[in-house]
Structures are given as C-alpha cells and as structure tokens.
C-alpha cells in the first residue's frame, strides 16, 4: 500500500463547484492524508520543517488546485517555494523526495478545445504545467499526467469527483498503471489507467 499525501489549495472553497466536490469525495477515501492548505495556513505561516517531515512520510504527492492565471493559487506557490527547499528537494543533499511521485489534479474554466494553437489559450495545457513538471524532475520525482477537468463552469461535477476518489484509491492500492499514467497527456475520470483486478 502506497502512502498518499493529498494537498488541496483553493482560497474560496465556499464558492467552488468542481474542487469542492473533489475535496468532499477525497476526504472519504480511507488511508489518504488530505490537507486543505488554506485552512491549515490561513495566515501563510507555513511550518517548513513539519511540512517536509509530512512530505517525507508519503510516497505520492497529489496537488489539487484550480488553475489561476496559468498557475496555482498563491498559497500553493508559497508552499512550493518554502517547503521544496535547497538541501531538501534540490541542491547538495537535496534528494529527500527522489523516487516519489507528483500528480496534479487541476481544473480550468476554459473548455478543452481552447487549449492548443487554434484555441484562445494558445498553448496546450501541459505547456502551462511545465513549471510543475520541471519542479518534480529537479526533485527527482516522477511526474504523472495531470488529472484534469476542463470547462469547470459547466456540467455536473459528480463524475469528476468520483473519478478523483477512484484515482486516489488506485494510487493507494498501487492499482494504477504508472507507466501508462506517466505516458498519457492528461487523465480524465473515464480514462484512468487502472489495472484489472
């Protein structure tokens, strides 16, 4: 059984649709550590040592957030800046996360077709996520394909939320085909590469 750390960052949970539903579903998955970052650190007072210890005690880091201006919300960035420090995540002696896995679970208000040279977002979603991908690589982590929900203003969030719970449970039970999960461009609730069994 793999140890999963699910970190969720949304500054306005009360008015969220997709992410609130995902958070609700994720908290019902047993043996997964789920953290609401904004509730844990409402004044940005991040305890770096405690966060690093918790990170080291897990095998997979799942970061869930809505995409704001092609990046994560501010507190998530603050967390990355402070916790993934030199001598811990990179640099001399900075191999403490090596061999672990990072997986993003993100939502975009733009529809899928907006991403790409023809769309109004101009670039594929993965291009916007390259800072995270390279962060994982520098820390020696495997960067799995992101779990994505486009067009977050439309439709029922339930399927995506249920898919997220399935994904977390699959990671926990090492039931997910990590090679396929890494090779994919993005994961959706109906394309999760679960092993039969």
């Amino acid at each position: 059984m793999a140890r999963i750390l699910h970190i969720f960052a949304h500054p306005g949970l009360a008015s969220s649709r997709i992410n609130a539903a995902m958070w609700g579903a994720a908290r019902r998955v047993r043996d997964v550590t789920s953290v609401d970052l904004y509730a844990e650190n409402p004044r940005y007072e991040i305890d770096v040592k405690a966060q690093q210890d918790r990170l080291e005690a897990h095998d997979v880091l799942v970061m869930q957030f809505p995409i704001f201006w092609y990046s994560c919300p501010a507190l998530m960035k603050e967390w990355i800046d402070l916790v993934l420090s030199r001598g811990f995540a990179y640099g001399v002696g900075g191999d403490r996360l090596a061999g672990r896995t990072m997986l993003l679970a993100v939502s975009t208000s733009a529809p899928a077709e907006a991403f790409g040279p023809e769309g109004y977002q101009n670039f594929p979603l993965r291009t916007f996520l390259t800072p995270f991908e390279q962060t994982a690589r520098l820390a020696g982590m495997r960067f799995a394909a992101p779990y994505v929900r486009h067009d977050a203003l439309h439709g029922d969030p339930a399927d995506h939320a249920r898919g997220f719970a399935t994904l977390l449970a699959g990671l926990r039970d090492e039931n997910l085909d990590m090679d396929r999960a890494t090779a994919a461009d993005a994961l959706f609730h109906d394309t999760l590469p679960l092993r039969k069994g």
Partner: protein, 633 residues
C-alpha cells in the same frame, strides 16, 4: 529675613534676565551668569553681601556637577574612547600645563605658583563648548568628537588637580579666613597612618555603599511614590558623601564623583540625574555670578595692554597645542581648526581652581584677580572664535563642494516609556532585532527583574521632560509610549512631537477616544491596546462557527482595514469637548460608515469567485467565456 531674601531675589532676577539674553546672542549661559554677576557687583557691595561666603556655598554646585559627570561615565563608553581620551586629553592637559607654567615661571612666578597657573589655564570651558557644538550640530563631527574627548578628560582631571593643589601651598593656611572646610574633622587628632586608614575606609564606604546599599534604599523610597521624597533622598545622598569626604580631609568632589561612577549602571541613574541637575544648574549659576561680581575691572582699566596681551597669549598658546595635537591624531583640515579654536579658552573649572588655590594660600593675592580676569575674557572671546571659524576657516575648505547629507542611518536608539505587558513585548522584539533600547518605568519591582535579564531599564516618571532628556531623547530615533495613564501618555506625545519633531512616536491608545486625543496631539502611529486581540477573538469565533479559516482571516483583515479608515476619518470630526453622540457631524458620518462596512464585510467574507466589492479571485462568467470563444473563431 530680608537680608537673605533680597540677595537671593537679586541673584535669581539677574540670572533670569541675563542668561536668556546671552543665549540669544550666542554667548552661552556661563557668560550670561558672569555678566549678571558683573552687573550685580556694585549693588551687592552696597548691600554689604559677603560674596566670598556665597561663593563657598555655591561651590557645592561643582560637587554636584562632578557627581553628574561620574553618573554619565559609562565604563563601556570610556573604554571605547580610551585612545583619544588618554592621548588627546592627556597630552592637551599635560602640554598646556607645562607650556603655560614655563611662561609664568619666565615671567617671574615661583614654580609652585607657575604650576598652579598652568593647571588653571589648561582646562577649557565644558559648558560653553558643548553647548555651542550642540547648537551648531557639530557634536558628531570629527573635530567635535575630539573636543568631547578632551573635555571629558579635563572634567576627570579636575579631581586629581583639586587633590594636588594643597601640596603646592607655600604658606601655612590660616583658618580664620572663614574657610568652612576645616571646621570639623575626624582626622585632626590622628597621626599619619591612622589618617590614611580613615581615608581608605571612607572611600571604601562610598564604593561599597554605592554598590550594595543604594539600590535597596532607593527602592524603598521609590515605593513611597512621592517625587519630593526621592529628590530629598538624592540630595541627602550627595551631601552626605561630600560631608564624609570633608570629615576625613578629602575633596568632596572626588567623593561624589566616585559615587557617581558607582551608580552609573544603576536603574536610578536617570532619575538621580534629573533630580540633582536643577540644583547643580542653580548653584553653578550662583557660583559664576559670584565670580562675575568678584571681577576686578579696575585692574583691566589700570593695565589694559598687559591683560589683553596675556589673554591673547593664553588663547594662542592653547590653540597652538590643540592644533598640534589635531595634526598628530589625524583630525584634519577644517575639523582640526574646529578642535583648536573651540577649546582655546580657559574654563569654569579654572574659577574653581582659582578659588581653591586662593583659599589654600597658594596664589599670591595680587595674581588671583588677574587670573580670574583672563579666564573671563578668554571665555568672552569664544563666540568670536566660533564666528572666525564660520567666516574664515569654513569657506576655505568648502569652496564649492556641497555638504554631504547627514548619515541618518546611524544606529539610533529607542526609548520605551512604560514596560508593562505592552511595552515589554515591544522591547523584547526590538532587542531581538539588535536595537538599542532604553526603558523607563515607574515600578521598581519590575525594573529589578528587567535588569536581572540584562535590559537597560531606568526608574522614573517617563512623562517628565527632564527624565526624557536624561534618557537621551535628543539622540533617540524613536519613542514608544506605553504607559497606562492615558492623559499623561497624551501629554507626553504632545511634548515630544512639539519639541523633538525628528522623533517617530509610536503610542498605545487605550480606547477609541484616546486614539483621537493622541491623533490630535500629533501622533501618527497609534496602536490600539486591545484591538488586535479583539479582532483575533472575533476571527476565532467565526472559525468556531464553521467559517473556513481562510475566509475568517480575510474577514478579519477587511474589518481591520475598514476600521482603520473610519477611525482616520472620524478623528477629524472628533471634538473632545462634546460627547460623540451629541456631535452631529461625527454621529452621522459614523452611522454612514457603519452601514457601508457591514455591506462590504458581508460580500467579502464569501471568498473566491464572489462578485463582491473586492472581486478577489473572481472567475470568468459564462459570458466572459463566450466572448473569448467568439474571438477564437
């Protein structure tokens, strides 16, 4: 009764009139007192006042002055200045004494008298020079600092000089001259080694008593919380030591100086300083007036050329020695000139030495009045020398080059008035960030605990301007007002804002109307005592009611900002004479602000994506998205 009241009134009146005029003319207070004495002299003769008797009484001001000099001597500061103090100061006193004594010897004095004259003229006028340098803002300059070291050394050197003078006596002292010093003695009937033992015991008493007895004694007195009792204790302390020293035949100035040094690190230092200082000022003023009254102008009229030549000769010789030392110690250019010209006069301690030497029959009676005249004239010429420096020396060195901005980033220190639950936290934060703080508090228990933890804390009523002065408000960068008494806090802010506008004042307000009062007093950095904790309690309550912690945090921040804005607005409408609920403009604006704020808070607390007043993290709407998609096609 009138024979006491009339001279007292005359002395006070003369001082009150002449000192402000002299200060305005840039002559300094010492010259003001001297002039008052000169003017007063015929009246005193007419009234039959015994000026010499008054002068002996006034000499006690010198004793107090040396006590204060001792109090100001922080061992740390002395150690840091040791090179300049011993080098510059020691050489200045040594060389000047030697040269002037040689000149006096050449002019026909016997060597004892010549040496006494050398010592008298070696000293400069601390009072005139420090005051002028401070007024001109030259204290921190290189020349000013060098001058300060020399003056400090001179102040200390006076003590061995006073001890040395009696050894120069060539005739036996006649006691009938009304010399008060020898009227009662503990050591009269003792032989040499017994006298030595008694002397050592007395000094030991002063040091040990100062170290171990004063603190509990002052603490006991401080508990009474009566200012005049503390002043009485301070005076009794100084007078008692002077008395003890006199009884064993030592200089009372030496004794009080020692006591001052012993107490320099005590928490009662600033309080003692500000209590003794007015007495010192008055007595020294009286002393200078008696000196002025004693000046023999007949002498000047009889031998104008001789006196003028001697005066200029003394100034030239002193300036020559100072300029040479400036060159040796690397005080260059205009700074060297400042150093040389500012200290070239003889000083008030010269009068003290003259009066001691005359009483001790060291100086022949015909020389003493001449010396007094020369010292006085040289002091009167000092403002002229400063004018010469400004007009002639400075333009040479600063032809076109603009003056560099003052270094305002020097490690200024912070004064914290009140060290309770509030000021204490402020102090700890400042100390942990490496700032130098001076704490003033009125609770002696509190102070003792603080000093045990190594905090620089002093006893006293922080609202008193003289205590603030003693704590160094002139050189402070910041004042934190954290005393409990709201009216005194406001008064303190008003005083400091008015008289020391360069100081940033952080004040604690006890409630809303106190904020307005402090604002009216001129404070622009006001912290409300319980406001932050109340906001935190509100935030905790919201969280406990189920609000998301980050939303509670944002609600609290919004509330604080709104509240600050409205306080600022209402401060202008506040009228201390009218209760707020009857002050119509205040009441109406307060109501309107309250409505606006409730509306704003309601919308803000909802966090991301809510299209409220702040629009924080507002996500695109469906229409935004359709517009973007249309552009795509």
């Amino acid at each position: 009764m009138t024979e006491f009241l009339l001279p007292a009134f005359l002395f006070l009146l003369a001082g009150v009139i002449s000192v402000p005029i002299a200060s305005r003319l840039g002559l300094g207070s010492v010259l003001g007192y001297l002039i008052a004495g000169i003017v007063l002299s015929p009246v005193l003769t007419l009234l039959g006042v015994d000026v010499i008797q008054v002068q002996h009484f006034a000499e006690f001001g010198v004793v107090m002055m040396l006590f204060l000099v001792g109090l100001e001597l922080e061992p740390k500061l002395l150690w840091a200045m040791r090179m300049r103090l011993l080098g510059l100061g020691g050489l200045q006193v040594g060389l000047t004494t030697a040269l002037i004594a040689a000149a006096a010897y050449a002019l026909g004095s016997i060597w004892q008298v010549a040496l006494a004259i050398g010592l008298i003229f070696a000293l400069s006028s601390t009072a005139i020079v420090l005051q002028t340098l401070n007024e001109k803002g030259l204290m921190k300059s290189d020349g000013g600092q060098a001058g300060f070291s020399v003056l400090l050394f001179q102040d200390i050197a006076v003590i061995p000089m006073l001890a040395l003078l009696p050894l120069l006596a060539t005739q036996h002292v006649t006691h009938e001259g009304g010399d008060a010093h020898a009227s009662l003695s503990l050591v009269d009937g003792l032989n040499g080694w017994q006298t030595g033992l008694a002397t050592l015991a007395a000094i030991g008493m002063v040091v040990a008593g100062g170290m171990y007895l004063t603190r509990p004694a002052f603490r006991f007195i401080a508990h009474a919380n009566l200012r005049e009792v503390f002043i009485a204790a301070a005076l009794a302390f100084v007078i008692g030591i002077a008395l003890l020293m006199t009884l064993v035949g030592l200089s009372p100035a030496l004794g009080t100086f020692l006591a001052g040094v012993v107490l320099a690190n005590s928490e009662y230092r600033h309080e003692l300083e500000s209590d003794i200082d007015p007495f010192r000022g008055l007595l020294l003023g009286l002393f200078f007036m008696t000196v002025g009254a004693g000046i023999d102008f007949g002498l000047l009229a009889a031998q104008p050329l001789t006196i003028a030549a001697l005066t200029l000769g003394v100034i030239a010789l002193k300036a020559g020695v100072l300029l040479f030392l400036a060159w040796v110690f690397g005080v260059r250019d205009e700074q060297g000139w400042l150093f040389g010209m500012s200290l070239a006069q003889a000083g008030e301690f010269g009068f003290v030495l003259i009066s001691f030497a005359t009483a001790g029959a060291i100086l022949p009676d015909d020389i003493a009045p001449r010396l007094t005249l020369i010292v006085t004239l040289s002091m009167m010429l000092t403002p002229g020398l400063f004018i010469l420096y400004d007009r002639v020396v400075l333009p040479r060195y600063h032809a076109a080059e603009p003056r560099a901005a003052d270094d305002i980033d020097q490690p200024g220190h912070v004064i914290i008035a009140g060290h309770g639950r509030f000021g204490g936290v402020v102090n700890r934060m400042l100390l942990s960030s490496g700032h130098e703080t001076t704490v003033l508090d009125h609770s002696s228990n509190q102070l003792e605990a603080l000093r045990a933890f190594g905090v620089r804390a002093f006893y006293g009523d922080a609202t008193r301007p003289d205590l603030l002065h003693a704590a160094g408000i002139e050189n402070a960068r910041l004042l934190v007002v954290a005393i409990d008494d709201r009216n005194r806090a406001t008064e303190m802010v008003r005083h400091v804002v008015k008289h020391h506008p360069h100081i940033h004042v952080v004040a604690r307000a006890l409630d809303r109307s106190h904020v307005y009062e402090l604002w009216g007093a001129g404070c622009r950095d006001i912290i409300r005592d319980t406001f932050d904790s109340a906001v935190r309690a509100g935030r905790s309550t919201l969280e406990a009611l189920g609000m998301h912690p980050f939303e509670a945090e944002r609600t609290a921040r919004t509330f604080v900002n709104q509240n600050r804005r409205s306080m600022r607005e209402l401060a202008d409408l506040y009228d201390p004479e009218v209760p707020n609920h009857r002050n119509a403009p205040y009441r109406d604006r307060a109501r309107a602000l309250m409505d606006e704020q409730t509306e704003e808070l309601r919308s803000r607390g909802r966090g991301a994506h809510h299209e409220g007043a702040d629009g924080a993290w507002a996500r695109p709407t469906l229409r935004d998205q359709e517009a973007a998609l249309r552009k795509q096609e």
